[in-house]
């Protein structure tokens, strides 16, 4: 008993002594709690209500979550699209980030800098991906249609971003084009910090080719970067929305480009069904955290 209050006393003392530390972190964490933590809590709270911005929210239990899976066909399309997106672009973009960084790493420093720029540029160039709406424009002046027509491969221009068949694959291509971002940079930087003597030691110990070197030396030395980039790529892969809205329209033809995030925006920003939108947001939140945690556990096995 005495011990416990002693502990509490010393924690309190430590907190008092750390006044300066708290003062320094205060502005950041005030904003962090207001705009990141509080919204998660609010979202979970609203997800069990029928809040609509106008009336007082009523508690409705699990019904929003039930509605998602039992009573909302478009949500099912959206979740299917999001999973296709995440399962394809998540691992593929992660692999691209690493493979490209790994190959670039051995080039001459000047060329390495140039290639880094070429791969990284799309992801920092604002909404320059709108160019795909011109490249794949649905009339004969669209670049791809024009070429296909002039070589007589097709007779009629293809309505790329209006045709269900093409929307999702094209969005995946654009997403991959945009995905060599922060994770890619982390790999470029990480590869340069791997201890060179490890490679020499490895060669002596019988590492025979670059792929063995990669698996036994490079990857295990880069585990922290692998973890970091995985978080960045997975989170981005689940959150695809902007490119779908800008390229395929909102709503897209037959909801072929609908994702969980566009669906959430539909209910949140246009129909003001905040309770239901919050349930979708909470569901996505849980999926993202679980996917990240699962991948982190998987990555711990690298090189073993």
């Amino acid at each position: 008993m005495a011990n416990q209050s002693d502990n509490r006393f010393s924690t309190w003392n430590m907190m008092k002594r750390s006044k300066t530390s708290y003062a320094l972190i205060f502005p950041y964490f005030l904003l962090f709690f207001t705009f990141t933590v509080l919204p998660v809590v609010v979202s979970i709270f609203f997800s069990v209500t029928d809040f609509n911005m106008l009336q007082r929210p009523n508690f409705v239990g699990w019904s929003n979550y039930m509605r998602m899976f039992l009573n909302d066909d478009i949500f099912i399309i959206a979740i299917k699209n999001t999973l296709v997106f995440a399962v394809l672009t998540g691992p593929l973009s992660y692999f691209m980030c690493f493979a490209f960084a790994w190959i670039i790493n051995e080039l001459h420093p000047k060329i390495r800098a140039l290639m880094t720029l070429v791969f990284y540029a799309p992801s920092i160039s604002g909404n320059v991906y709108f160019i795909y709406s011109f490249i794949f424009s649905g009339d004969r002046y669209g670049f791809v249609n024009g070429q296909l027509l002039s070589f007589n491969i097709i007779d009629e221009p293809i309505l790329f971003f209006q045709d269900e068949k093409y929307i999702l694959p094209l969005l995946i291509v654009v997403q991959l084009w945009l995905s060599l971002g922060t994770g890619f940079l982390a790999f470029i930087a990480g590869l340069q910090t791997v201890d060179r003597t490890l490679y020499e030691a490895g060669a002596v110990d019988g590492v025979k080719n670059r792929f063995q070197e990669l698996w036994f030396i490079t990857l295990p030395s880069m585990l922290p970067q692998l973890m970091f980039a995985a978080v960045i790529q997975i989170t981005a892969a689940f959150a695809v929305a902007d490119i779908s809205i800008q390229l395929a329209g909102f709503p897209s033809a037959n909801y072929a480009g609908a994702t969980v995030v566009t669906h959430l925006m539909d209910f949140g920003s246009f129909r003001f069904e905040m309770g239901y939108a919050s349930a979708i947001a909470t569901f996505l939140f849980i999926i993202m955290i679980l996917a990240n945690k699962a991948i982190q556990n998987l990555l711990k096995k690298v090189g073993t």
Binding site: P39, F134, I135, M222, Q246, G268, A281
Partner: protein, 295 residues
């Protein structure tokens, strides 16, 4: 035998650390990466080409990739195209500059001020706070968009620049990278300043900050790409507050004849962050080397 051979190679060329490489492998990978580079670069090049195409070249059949008679018309057209909107083109540019400028500076200052104690001090709650930030990297902002709208409205910031700028200050990726970069500053550096009687705020400002310049640049470019590309969403409703990217959306929403003007805005939009990255690449990579997650 193989080991001896390898050892001999190490001894003969002490600077060449690339062991276990075959010429065929190098050539193959070089070919692959060049091909990928070209594929990645083509859409960017197409944007640049289109920005300089005169109107009649937009309607060539079959469409050409390269521009024949480059012109600046598309850039001059921007003013005309948006003359039907209530505000001049320069206003969109100004808005984007205000949002990006304040957002970036505030983010770098506030997040490094918090990253310093989290990295170098020892106080109750420190680990929990850090873990919360790392957890927040694992979900996207879209998840919190609706409550954020409600919170920002409640704070009376709706339809002001603040609605976009203030939440951006607490961008967690920037904080996380800054904290990791400060981790590797030697404690002795800070101790010697404290011996001289410097207060913590002073240590932060005159010791930590000058030593983490590479991290400033990194936070700047990451935050830059978020704010530079913002459309203001549902927060900036007044036309005179709308940023450049919104104007781009309006221009592109027109028909194919708008391709040139749209590409011109696209070129303006991409040239700024790309130039920034060219100038600061080595510093940014220095920061990213410390980005790793240790669980």
């Amino acid at each position: 035998m193989a080991k001896k051979e390898t050892l001999r190679r190490i001894k003969r060329k002490p600077k060449e650390v690339m062991l276990n490489r075959s010429i065929a492998g190098n050539a193959g990978l070089l070919f692959f990466i060049s091909l990928m580079g070209v594929i990645m670069f083509l859409p960017m090049l197409f944007t640049i080409m289109n920005a300089f195409k005169p109107l009649d070249e937009m309607f060539y059949f079959p469409p050409r990739f390269f521009v024949r008679n480059p012109t600046m018309d598309n850039f001059f057209d921007l003013g005309v195209l948006l003359s039907t909107s209530w505000v001049p083109f320069s206003r969109y540019v100004l808005n984007t500059l205000i949002i990006t400028g304040f957002g970036v500076v505030g983010h770098v200052l506030i997040s490094s001020m918090a990253a310093y104690p989290i990295s170098k001090h020892d106080f109750p709650g420190q680990k929990v706070l850090l873990r919360m930030v790392v957890l927040s990297l694992m979900f996207a902002g879209a998840v919190t968009a609706i409550p954020n709208y409600i919170i920002i409205s409640a704070l009376g910031m709706n339809n002001t620049y603040l609605a976009v700028i203030v939440p951006a200050f607490s961008y967690s990726l920037g904080f996380y990278l800054m904290k990791n970069f400060i981790d590797q500053l030697p404690d002795s550096l800070l101790e010697s300043a404290r011996m001289d009687g410097a207060k913590e705020l002073r240590v932060y400002w005159s010791i930590v900050m000058p030593n983490v310049k590479p991290a400033w640049l990194t936070l700047t470019i990451l935050q830059f790409q978020v704010l530079w590309g913002t459309t203001g969403g549902q927060f900036l409703r007044s036309e005179q507050l709308k940023p450049l990217n919104y104007a781009l959306g309006q221009i592109v929403a027109g028909n194919i004849a708008r391709q040139g003007a749209g590409s011109a805005v696209g070129l303006i939009m991409m040239s700024v962050p790309v130039t920034f990255f060219i100038v600061s690449q080595s510093k940014i990579l220095q920061t990213m080397a410390t980005s790793g997650m240790k669980e």
